[in-house]
C-alpha cells in the first residue's frame, strides 16, 4: 500500500495552530448574529415564499424588523409574538407583512412563556422533519449499499432546472453517485435566496428550495431505478450560508459546498460575516447529516499549485477545526484539494500523488473531495480528457472520498450531455483499470514523493503558526491567504452583522447546540 511517513511533530504543530486560530472566535459566535442567520430562523419556522418582485418573505420580515431596530433579539420572538397576537401560522405572519398588512412592532407583546412554547413546538417540528430526512438518507444507503470510493461526482449547469433534471438523470443512470447543481454566477453575492423553479441562470442554475425539491424527486426516482442512492449537492457559500443549509436540510440534500473562508477570499464577503454565518450553517449541516465540502481548490485555480500547495493543507486544517466547533464529525468533512499542476511540469503526476496522499493521511476519516484540472484545461479537448484521466488515476490510487469529475470541455462551456458522459466513462475505465493497484505498490523509503509531502506539511505548519500568532483577520488583511488582502471590516455584508442583545433568542441555535453536544 502506498503510505507516507509523515513527521508526527509537524502534524501536531499544524493541527494545534489551526485549533488555536479557530478557537479564537468565541466572541463572534457567541455575541453576534446576521441577517441571513435570522432569515434562516424564519425559514426553519416554516416561512417561505416571495413577493411578486421576487423578494423572499424571510427577507421582507427580517428587513421590517431591522428597519424598526427590532432585530437584536432575533427574528424568532417578534414573529412568534405575531402568531400569538393574530393566532395565525408563521407563514401567514410573513404573508401579511409581505402584503403590507402587518407591522410587527405594533402588536401587543405576548407572555414570554407562550412565545417560548410556540417556538419550542415549531422548532421541534422542523428538527423532527430534518431528522427524518436524515434517517431516510441513512435507510436508503443501508438498503442500496454505501457510495463507491471515490464517489463519482458530476455537475449539471444548464441554467434551467428542467434541463438539469434530464442531464442529472442521464448521469446518474450512467454511474454518477453525486449530482451537483452548479449555481448561477454571483448568486454568492445575493443577500437573499431566490424563490421557485428557475430556468434562466448563467454558468449554472439558481439555488432555490423549489429547485432543490425538483432535483431531489428526480434523483430519488433514479435511485430506485438504479438501486443506488444518488446524492444531491449544492452550494452553501456566500451571503446566505445558513439559509441554504436549512433549505438543504429540509429538502434532503446530502452534501453542501461549505467552506469557512471561501466567501472572504474568493467572493470578497466580509470576514466577520462569513465566519459567523458558517458557524450556524455548519451546525445545521451537522444535524442534518449533510457532508460538507470545502473549497481549497480555489487557492490553486488562482495561485501556483506547487508553490502554494501548503495553502491547501493549511486551509483544510482550519476548515477541520471550524467544522469541529460546529459539531461536524470527521466522516462528514469533505475537505478539498485539487489537481491543478501545470501539465508541462515534469513529474506532475508525482507531485499530485504526494499532495493527494498527504490529504488522505492527514484526514484519514474524511471523505476528501478531489477537484479536477481546470486551470490548465484548454480548448484542446483531447488533452484535457487525458489530464482528467491522470486525475482519476490518482483519485482511485489514493482512495479519495469524492472525485469531482473533470470534463474535457472545461475550458469551453459548462458541460454538454455528452461531455459529462465521456467524463463518467473516463472515470469508470480508469477506476477499474487501477482498482487494486495500490495494494501492490509501496513508497520507497526516502522517495521523492514522501519528501515532497513532508515539505508541504512543514510549510503549512509554519504558515499556520504565523497566522495563529498574528491572528486570522490580521493575516487576511495582509494578504497572507491566496495573495488577496481582505480587511476585517471590508467586503460585502458587514452591515448584516450585528450584536445580539440580552434578550436574543434563537430556538434552533439553542437546540442544535444541545443536540450536537457543543
Amino acid at each position: 500500500m502506498l503510505k507516507l511517513s509523515l513527521a508526527d511533530a509537524a502534524k501536531q504543530r499544524a493541527r494545534d495552530a489551526a485549533a488555536r486560530i479557530a478557537g479564537s472566535f468565541a466572541w463572534l459566535f457567541d455575541e453576534y448574529t446576521s441577517l441571513t442567520i435570522e432569515r434562516t430562523v424564519l425559514r426553519l419556522m416554516g416561512i417561505d415564499g416571495a413577493l411578486k418582485d421576487g423578494k423572499p418573505l424571510p427577507n421582507v420580515v427580517v428587513d421590517q424588523l431591522r428597519a424598526q431596530q427590532a432585530l437584536a433579539r432575533g427574528a424568532a420572538i417578534p414573529v412568534a409574538n405575531a402568531m400569538l397576537a393574530k393566532n395565525i401560522s408563521a407563514q401567514s405572519v410573513a404573508d401579511s407583512v409581505g402584503h403590507g398588512e402587518l407591522d410587527l412592532s405594533e402588536l401587543p407583546k405576548a407572555a414570554p412563556d407562550e412565545i417560548f412554547k410556540i417556538l419550542d413546538t415549531l422548532s421541534d417540528q422542523m428538527l423532527a422533519h430534518i431528522a427524518k430526512q436524515r434517517s431516510t438518507r441513512e435507510q436508503m444507503f443501508a438498503q442500496y449499499g454505501p457510495r463507491r470510493v471515490p464517489a463519482i461526482y458530476v455537475i449539471v449547469a444548464t441554467g434551467n432546472i428542467y434541463e438539469d433534471v434530464v442531464q442529472a438523470r442521464a448521469a446518474a443512470s450512467e454511474g454518477a453517485d453525486i449530482i451537483a447543481v452548479i449555481r448561477s454566477t454571483a448568486q454568492s453575492l445575493l443577500d437573499y435566496v431566490p424563490f421557485g423553479a428557475t430556468t434562466v441562470g448563467f454558468g449554472g442554475t439558481y439555488a432555490t428550495q423549489e429547485n432543490f425539491r425538483i432535483m431531489r424527486v428526480a434523483l430519488d426516482e433514479i435511485s430506485e431505478q438504479e438501486q443506488r442512492y444518488i446524492s444531491l449537492t449544492n452550494y452553501a457559500s456566500g451571503l446566505c450560508m445558513p439559509e441554504i443549509s436549512a433549505m438543504g436540510a429540509i429538502e434532503r440534500l446530502d452534501l453542501l459546498l461549505n467552506d469557512a473562508m471561501y466567501g472572504i477570499l474568493f467572493r470578497d464577503i466580509n470576514p466577520r460575516r462569513t465566519l459567523l454565518d458558517q458557524y450556524f450553517s455548519r451546525m445545521i449541516n451537522a444535524y442534518a447529516g449533510i457532508e460538507i465540502q470545502t473549497g481549497e481548490d480555489n487557492y490553486l485555480t488562482t495561485s501556483d499549485a506547487v508553490e502554494k500547495a501548503y495553502t491547501v493543507t493549511a486551509s483544510q486544517l482550519l476548515n477541520e477545526q471550524f467544522a469541529l466547533l460546529s459539531g461536524i464529525k470527521p466522516e462528514k468533512m469533505g475537505l478539498g484539494h485539487a489537481h491543478e499542476i501545470d501539465p508541462e511540469l515534469p513529474n506532475s503526476f508525482s507531485y499530485e500523488l504526494a499532495h493527494a496522499l498527504l490529504t488522505r493521511e492527514l484526514f484519514p476519516e474524511a471523505p476528501v473531495k478531489y477537484m479536477p484540472p481546470t486551470k490548465f484545461a484548454s480548448g484542446n479537448i483531447f488533452k484535457t480528457h487525458l489530464m482528467d484521466a491522470m486525475f482519476n488515476f490518482i483519485g482511485q490510487l489514493t482512495g479519495q472520498g469524492v472525485q469531482l469529475l473533470g470534463m474535457m470541455t472545461e475550458a469551453i462551456h459548462t458541460p454538454h450531455l455528452a461531455d459529462r458522459s465521456l467524463a463518467i466513462e473516463n472515470a469508470q475505465y480508469i477506476f477499474k483499470a487501477v482498482q487494486d493497484l495500490d495494494a501492490s505498490l509501496s513508497l520507497a523509503p526516502d522517495s521523492w514523493v514522501n519528501q515532497r509531502a513532508n515539505q508541504v506539511l512543514n510549510e503549512a505548519a509554519e504558515f499556520l503558526e504565523g497566522v495563529a500568532a498574528e491572528g486570522l483577520f490580521a493575516a487576511m488583511a495582509r494578504g497572507e491567504f491566496a495573495d488577496i488582502k481582505r480587511p476585517e471590516t471590508g467586503g460585502k455584508g458587514l452591515d448584516g452583522v450585528f450584536r445580539k442583545d440580552e434578550g436574543y433568542f434563537n430556538p434552533f441555535l439553542n437546540k442544535l447546540t444541545k443536540e450536537l453536544g457543543l
Partner: protein, 248 residues
C-alpha cells in the same frame, strides 16, 4: 413544416444544435489560419462557430477543434432503416428450429477473402469457442461449418462451396481503405453469378463497416456489422432457409 418534431443535436438546451468538430487544414496556426477554419465551418453552414483548439501540426498544417451550431435537422418520418428482421434465437432454439423446419444439417462455408487477413471477426461467428459467451456455428448441431480462414481468393471460396454443396457462404471484409471491401465483395458476387452459384446459396457478408443495407446494395442476402453474434447469423440463416424451402 414545424421544426418542433424535428431531430436536432442537443448540447445542454433542447434543440440547441451543438456539435463538436475537429479537422486539419493546410494553413498556418495563426489568426489567418483560424479565420480559414471559421470560414470553412461557415461555408458548411454552421452558426455560432467557436474555434477553441488550434494545434500546430508542422509542415504547414494546423489542427482545429471547434464547437458550432448546425441549423440542420432530421425529419423522423424520413428515417428508413434496412435491418435484418428475423428474430434472434439462442443456440438450442436454432438447432431445434432447424430440426423441425429443415430436417438436415445446413452447410456453411466462410472466409476472409482476397487480401484480407482479419479472421477474428469471422472466427467469432464460426469457431467453436465463439465470442462473448455465444458459441460459434461449429458448435451447433444444425450446422456443418467450414471456415477457410484468411486471404482466400474468391475463386477458391466458390470452388470449396460448390464442392461442399454449401447452403450458405459467409464472407468477411475488414480492411476498407480506398473501398477495397466494396471491390472485393462485388467481384465475389459477379464470379458467383458467372458460375451460376448466386441463387443456389445464401450470400452473407460481415465486417465492421458492413451494414445490412450496404450488403443488399452489393447483391448479398444479408450483411452484419460490429457487435454481431453467432446467434444473429444462425437465426437469420435458419429462418431464411426454412422460408425458401417452404416456398421453393
Amino acid at each position: 413544416m414545424s421544426k418542433k418534431n424535428m431531430i436536432r443535436p442537443y448540447g445542454d438546451t433542447s434543440g440547441d444544435g451543438k456539435m463538436q468538430l475537429s479537422f486539419c487544414l493546410p494553413v498556418p496556426p495563426d489568426a489567418w489560419g483560424k479565420e480559414a477554419a471559421r470560414l470553412l465551418l461557415k461555408n458548411i453552414g454552421y452558426d455560432e462557430i467557436e474555434i477553441c483548439g488550434v494545434r500546430d501540426l508542422r509542415e504547414g498544417y494546423t489542427h482545429f477543434i471547434a464547437y458550432a451550431v448546425t441549423p440542420a435537422f432530421v425529419d423522423p418520418s424520413n428515417i428508413k432503416v434496412k435491418v435484418v428482421e428475423t428474430p434472434v434465437m439462442d443456440m438450442e432454439a436454432t438447432d431445434a428450429y432447424i430440426q423441425d423446419n429443415i430436417g438436415r444439417e445446413i452447410t456453411v462455408v466462410g472466409a476472409c477473402i482476397e487480401s484480407d487477413a482479419h479472421t477474428v471477426g469471422i472466427d467469432a461467428i464460426m469457431n467453436m469457442k465463439g465470442y462473448n459467451h455465444r458459441y460459434g456455428l461449429e458448435r451447433y448441431q444444425g450446422f456443418n461449418a467450414i471456415n477457410l480462414g484468411a486471404q482466400v481468393p474468391s475463386e477458391e471460396l466458390l470452388r470449396r462451396a460448390r464442392e461442399a454443396n454449401a447452403d450458405v457462404i459467409l464472407v468477411s471484409q475488414v480492411v476498407t481503405q480506398k473501398n477495397i471491401h466494396i471491390k472485393n465483395l462485388t467481384r465475389l458476387i459477379e464470379l458467383a453469378e458467372a458460375e451460376q452459384l448466386r441463387d443456389k446459396m445464401l450470400f452473407i457478408c460481415g465486417g465492421p463497416r458492413i451494414s445490412h443495407e450496404l450488403a443488399i446494395e452489393l447483391g448479398y442476402d444479408a450483411g452484419f456489422g460490429t457487435g454481431t453474434y453467432s446467434t444473429d447469423v444462425a437465426s437469420y440463416i435458419a429462418i431464411t432457409l426454412a422460408g425458401r424451402i417452404v416456398k421453393g
